[in-house]
Amino acid sequence: MVRTVDLIREATDASRASPAFSLLTLLAVTGMCVAVLLTTGRAVATEQTVLARIDAAGTRTIIIRSTDPSDPIRAGVVSRLLAFDSVQNALALGPLVDVHVAAPHGGPRVGAREVTSGGPGLERLTEVPAASSPVGARVAVAAHAATDALGLADGIGTVADANGRTYVLQGQAELPDHVEFLASTVLIPSSEVGGSEVGGGYSLVVVLARSPGDVDSLSRSSLSVLGVRDVTTLTVETSSDLASIRSAVGGELRAAGERTVSTILTVSALVLSVTQFGLVTLRRRDFGRRRALGATRVVIFLLIVYQAAILAVLGATLGVGLATLVLILFDGGLLPGWRFIFSVAYLAVLLAVVSAALPAVLASQRDPVRELRVP
């Protein structure tokens, strides 16, 4: 029984023995990896960036507004929404009230809402600070647009509502992309317990679905947990248009990528097959000698396939390294992701092995006596 490790060593030696063909195989595989990564790989990286931007812009967001103040969205809605598997996070906002800088009294007025939130990504809004300021005021959160409007350049100060309740702002907050529309509002984190703090209900709910595909079904099913008497008083905004664009962008780029990859693979397979056929034709006498000395057909087959695989692994490593370097140096590091890169390398090795298989079968089936008589 021939030992695999010896066979691999023999294949490595055989690669060194035919440098021209080895170089051709190496270049074909390297070229294939570089070509795929610099064309389709780049397109995939761009697609991922575009889709991430579309997603961040709100393809997964559902905004539900209550238009009837006498039939508000009931307390406990965030917990009920989070019970859906398809919900990543949710926040409920109370009715809009005006606030202004407390001292000196007056100045521009800005809208404020009590907010209750839950789920990953909204931790900043989930934290309900204790009434911990020295004067017993509650803490509020505001993005730069709101603090700028209030005239608090550094976002630090105290604001008061029409009833004289004060809220302490401790700096400018960064809001997640899908609630960026609340940037000009002062947000007052509150506990959802009883909902009493917002007068027993909410006027606005923002739900972030886990994936764009969940948006349609979630926009319907979430209505049942809002606790309103008449759902026709609710308005639901979803980003179905963005979801369509997302799907179209993904589909277009994928189709273009598949065409490019198919072309590159076909050309590479052709080059590799021709190279391997050339190699086994030139080494006919070598294979005849090996057969006479005791090599089985399987050994001849494996020698050729291992040789192609070894060169392909080297070529793929070189190609991936080269393409990654080019993308990092000249394309701002826009990489298609390691899974894609690894798949390209794997595909290149597989293609080289498959291209070598037929020449290897032919070489192993040849009559050794005839091969030995090759001048």
Binding site: A292, L293, G294
Partner: protein, 214 residues
């Protein structure tokens, strides 16, 4: 080793060998002579299990070989048969040592375990080159002795040599023949295909083959 009623043809209806029988004994050197195309090398390849007879059988160590699978025949070639070709047929890209050790691969033996035996053979047959030298750096006589070392590495019972002195001068040829003879003296069976009457006269048995049966 014996050929038992062996027939063989490359072209259907035109047999090169027809019902050919002979028993090759251990400890002897047998020469196969005859005109070109009479089937000497073909008989050698039949005895060496590289070809299958269309009729008859080849027996090695008393066992029939014709019914064996290709894999089993390859295993027999690797362990029981040593080939020496006219042009030595060394791998020019490998070192002398790697060439001698080649059959270890096909027998599944680690090369380093066979290295002492390879060195011993190289010393015994006076291959006075570095084991790291390449076949291109050695003379024709030394290349043929390296091929002989390769053939003997597995301690085969049979050595089949196809015109082993064909490309050598008289003195070097004699040296190669002495090496073959020494294998026979150790109990091996040697069959040599040759056109050279001097080589044939130095063998224990000479089989003069006729032309094709047709």
């Amino acid at each position: 080793m014996a050929a038992l009623g062996v027939s063989f043809s490359y072209i259907r209806g035109k047999p090169l060998l027809c019902d050919w029988s002979y028993e090759f004994h251990e400890g002897t050197v047998t020469a196969l002579t005859g005109p070109s195309g009479c089937g000497k090398s073909t008989l050698l390849y039949l005895l060496g299990l590289l070809l299958r007879p269309s009729a008859g059988d080849v027996s090695l160590r008393g066992y029939s070989q014709s019914s064996l699978s290709d894999r089993e025949r390859s295993a027999r070639r690797a362990s029981d048969v040593g080939f020496v070709f006219q042009d030595a047929a060394l791998d020019a890209s490998r070192t002398v040592m790697a060439n001698v050790l080649e059959t270890a691969l096909y027998r599944g033996r680690p090369r380093r375990r066979e290295e002492p035996r390879a060195r011993e053979l190289l010393d015994r047959f006076g291959v006075a080159v570095s084991p790291r030298a390449r076949p291109g750096q050695v003379s024709g006589g030394q290349a043929q002795r390296i091929a002989l070392c390769r053939a003997l590495l597995a301690r085969p019972s049979v050595i089949l040599a196809d015109e082993p002195t064909g490309n050598l001068d008289q003195e070097t040829g004699a040296m190669v023949l002495r090496a073959l003879r020494s294998h026979a003296e150790e109990g091996g069976c040697v069959v040599v295909v040759t056109h050279d009457p001097v080589v044939a006269s130095g063998c224990d048995h000479v089989i003069e083959m006729d032309g094709p049966a047709w």
